[in-house]
Amino acid sequence: MLFPDEGHGFAKPENRAGTLYALTYGRPCAKSVEPIEKAPFFHFIPGHRRLCVATVGCNLRCKYCQNWHISQKRVEEVKHYDLSPEEIVEIAKKEGVESICFTFSEPTAFYEYMYDIAKLAKENGVMTSMVSNGFINAEPLRQLIKVMDAVKIDLKGFSESFYEEVCFGRLEPVLNTLRILKEEGKWLEIVNLIVPPLNDKADEIKKMCTWIKENLGVEVPLHFSRFFPAYRLTRLPPTPISTLEKAYEIAREVGLNYVSIGNVRGHKHNSTFCPKCGNILIHRVGFMVLSNNIEDGKCRFCGHEIPGIWK
């Protein structure tokens, strides 16, 4: 893991006589069954239910974190369950979910726990995914993704100043994470939460989209998400929908094929469209799937191959 500074982050393990102990191991504070689209994952078995698991902790301190109640806390400050990796997988099987998703806080903050659960899940035929800030070193990342089916990375902004001032982190390691995920051929989706006036500049969004196209390819789904006041940034208005639509246009002009708008329930771009024929592939309202026109990984209308994990 990366810790930007001494004293920053809430995910530090305990050092006992030279050995680091992960205090979060076996102590999730949040678990719930939710639709996969809520992550958001739009190209990962649409409509399936996932078991979401999280412990406390995060190695960033984003000022608008929606789950700050757990991400910015220490183990002793929060009520938790005591569940071994085996028990988590049992719960997943009992609930009949198709995947386990490590989310809410920063899953790399409970790396060892996540890794053990994911490994066990794979052995039991349960798929795995992770929703992360991507602020992790290369070696543990490569190790981790061997047991992950899908990864969603929050690309919070596209400037070092935004990452430093708003998230207390750095951009470059996140970009590195994205490159590695591409290199390893892991299914990847990206979310960019637009927070006006902090990271909504059109030129910055264009730079980001261009970088994605050049480094990751046009097939990586990019979700622009609407900001709502949270944590310390409660005195800002929500993102105007026109700002999100402008970002969508920029991304499409750059050439990205799969762009969506999130947190605006009922918006046309909650849905996925075929980049070739323009027909609606997956009709969504918010995170509810209303219809699915992908058959065997192809557009039902024109046969165009749609990247993703469909079963």
């Binding site: 719930s32 999280a54 809410f104 006006p196 006036p197 929500p238 309202v285």
Partner: protein, 704 residues
């Protein structure tokens, strides 16, 4: 004689300026501190402590300065210059502190940022008081009486300032026009004091000051008659509001309103808090079934004769008393009176579907328990914002997804967002099970159903919201808030008793400590005075909601009371022979007042009619000020007998009075009033004054 009259006018202007500066800066700070009235206690407290420092430390320097009148003029000119600068600074302060656009502030930054903003003006204002006492005593050759008289003139200026501010200034002028106008007034006053400074026999320093006064007068006048003041105003606003384009800016009687446009979206900010975000659509707003009433919600509920099917209380957090009063037991009872038989009250609270921390649990339990006190049936829909639906009809419990989906279909309503899948997801029983389990896990004791009731005069909703707010910015302070929540009346009574006992024990043998009996009486009276002010301010806000408009008036009436009390006492000083006995009677009066005050809140006067009820508030402010103000000159007379240095005594007791006020503002505003409620806070005041009275009687009489 001429100089004496001009000097009296200068002291009146000093009081006027101080009042206006204080309230104007307070109103500006309420916006950057997001409308939380508890910060009024912090702001007023900081003002007082800075005045105390100015009065005592800077003020004492007057003894060493030869051109005393000129020194007073320097202070006045500095205040004139600094006041508009402080307005500007207030608006851009968060940017200077490195606070991100849209980021809130914790209590600690509020404490020190208000301290820094107020520092220049209040420090100088405090020093000016002590300077004025000394100059007046040299002009009139009366020592003890000078302090009393200057106190009276200054508070008279405060009264005029409060009335003028409320009725003449803020309805018609913005902050820069007012501050620059004040600058003009003070510059002209300085010219009057320096009269004929250009004459040959005058010192070069006096001539220099005279020229500066002329220059300042000219600059301030020009800024008012040209667009300069407006330009300053708009420039500072654009620095303050970087979130978008300002479409509208207004100071209503309830608070500051700013409408920001970004994209197609309009966001309405009230005292810095975004409350509605919407694209404005003429069609909806001008629909015949839509009636917009620009009136306080609570007042509307009280006055309306209609009955309603649904009352939606559109608040998101109970972070201030103005909002909290819409979520109290008393208000829920009022709403029940205007609901039809199967009518529903809906209120929301902050929530989470991931994890509920202790603070969130307290807020939600408070709302839930308070609702259950009034409505037999409450349905909860958990979410990122929890919805509470309350009714006197059990039919509310039948609100399930299947019913809503059926009705959507029957009415053939086309919706984009509220689809059947979403309704099923949102109303799924697993969320409610999780929510109730979380509440159960977070409960500390089985008495949770009885406690946490949010009431008008015991605003636990605001306390819990403040505790929640604190976890965002100062998580280490969580323990303090949790300790505060457990605080009881007994703790304070025991602590005060212990203090009193130790004071008596050591004071009996120690002469210096014995001499502290009178200063302690003044400090505790200052504490009581601030708490009386805050109690009346808070009660006014709870009952009427437009404290933002009346804050100047309420504060100035209180100060007028202190002035009149001071004046009556000053005139009687020569006649009063048994000083300690008389001071003890005043102490006893404060005790009786604090014990009677709670009963007045429930008195019929408060419900007779608005005019009469507001009159009651003004009378209470005046009486409390009267009792507080009467003590000051008498205490000075007593203390001067053992410590003859006039400026030292004036400065020390003034500083003591203000320091007590500061403590009252910090402890009372943030602690006592929320934790114990108004009733028990009055009891604390009474008990503190009982301790003070005992110390005065036992030790004060032994001082020679």
């Amino acid at each position: 004689m001429f100089i004496r009259r001009r000097f009296v006018f200068a002291v009146l202007a000093l009081g006027f300026s101080g009042m206006v500066a204080q309230v104007l800066l307070l109103r500006e700070m309420l916006v950057i501190f997001y409308g939380n009235e508890l910060t009024i206690g912090i702001i007023l407290g900081n003002w007082l402590v800075l005045e105390a420092i100015g009065a005592f430390f800077l003020g004492k320097q007057i003894e060493k300065i030869r051109p005393k009148l000129e020194a007073f003029v320097v202070i006045q000119l500095l205040i004139s210059l600094l006041f508009p600068l402080m307005i500007y600074l207030t608006r851009i302060f968060k940017g200077i502190m490195g606070v991100a656009v849209g980021e809130g502030l914790g209590l600690l930054p509020i404490l020190y940022s208000s301290f820094l903003i107020l520092l220049p003006v209040s420090l100088l204002h405090g020093a000016a008081f002590t300077f004025a006492c000394k100059i007046h005593s040299e002009i009139t050759q009366k020592r003890a009486a000078s302090i009393g008289r200057v106190y009276v003139y200054e508070t008279l200026g405060v009264l005029i300032g409060g009335v003028a501010f409320t009725y003449l200034l803020i309805p018609y002028f913005h902050s820069f026009q007012i501050s620059l106008g004040l600058g003009l007034l003070n510059s002209v006053v300085c010219l009057g004091l320096l009269a004929k400074f250009w004459q040959g026999g005058e010192t070069s320093f006096k001539k220099f000051l005279g020229s500066v006064s002329v220059l300042f007068s000219g600059i301030f006048l020009l800024s008012l008659i040209t667009p300069a003041a407006d330009k300053l105003h708009h420039l500072s606003l654009s620095e303050q509001w970087k979130v978008g384009k300002i479409e509208h800016y207004q100071n209503s009687i309830y608070g500051n309103i700013v409408v920001i446009k970004k994209g197609e979206q309009y966001t309405f900010f009230f005292n810095g808090i975004p409350i509605i975000t919407t694209p404005l659509t003429e069609t909806e707003l001008s629909h015949p079934r839509v009636n917009i009433k620009y009136v306080d919600g609570r007042y509307f509920v009280k006055k309306t004769h209609h009955k309603y099917d649904v009352v939606l209380i559109g608040i998101s957090e109970l972070s201030n008393l103005q909002v909290n009063r819409l979520a109290t037991e008393e208000f829920f009872i009022m709403v029940r009176g205007i609901l039809k038989e199967k009518g529903i009250l809906v209120i929301s609270s902050p929530g989470s579907l991931t994890y509920l921390n202790k603070e969130l649990i307290n807020i939600n339990l408070s709302i839930l328990n308070t609702l259950k006190r009034v409505y037999p049936w409450v349905k909860i829909i958990p979410g990122d914002f929890n919805l509470f639906l309350a009714s006197i009809s059990p039919q509310i419990l039948e609100v399930e997804s299947s019913l809503l989906i059926k009705r959507l279909g029957e009415r053939e309503l086309e919706t984009f967002s509220l689809t059947s899948q979403y309704i099923q997801y949102r109303l799924h029983s697993r969320w409610l099970d999780w929510f109730l389990n979380s509440l159960a896990r977070g409960r500390e004791t089985t008495t949770d159903t009885e406690t946490k009731i949010n009431r008008d005069f015991h605003p636990l909703g605001t306390l819990y919201s403040l505790a929640f707010w604190n976890t965002l910015f100062f998580p280490k302070g969580q323990k303090l808030f949790r300790w505060l929540e457990r605080m009881s009346l007994n703790f304070f009574l025991i602590a005060l008793s212990l203090f009193g006992f130790l004071f008596l024990l050591f004071g009996y043998k120690n002469v210096r400590l014995r001499k502290g009996a009178v200063p302690f009486a003044i400090i505790s009276t200052g504490f009581a005075g601030m708490l009386f002010s805050l109690i009346l301010i808070f009660a006014f806000q709870v009952l009427y909601g437009y404290l933002y408009y009346w804050i100047g008036l309420l504060t100035s009436i209180f100060m007028a009371g202190t002035g009149v009390g001071g004046l009556l006492m000053t005139r009687s000083l020569e006649k009063v022979k048994k000083d300690i006995f008389y001071l003890s009677k005043l102490e006893a009066s404060i005790i009786v007042f604090s014990l009677l005050l709670p009963f007045i809140f429930l008195g019929p006067g408060l419900y007779f009619g608005e005019f009469f009820s507001q009159g009651v508030f003004l009378i209470l402010c005046f009486i409390s000020g009267l009792l507080i103000g009467a003590e000051f000159p008498l205490a000075n007379k007593i203390h001067l007998k053992t410590s003859p240095n006039l400026s030292g005594t004036a400065g020390m007791l003034y500083a003591g009075d203000l320091a007590g006020g500061w403590l009252g503002g910090i402890i009372g505003g943030v602690g006592l009033l929320l934790v114990l409620g108004l009733w028990k806070t009055c009891l604390i005041i009474a008990y503190l004054k009982i301790i003070s009275l005992i110390i005065l009687i036992v030790l004060g009489r032994r001082v020679k």
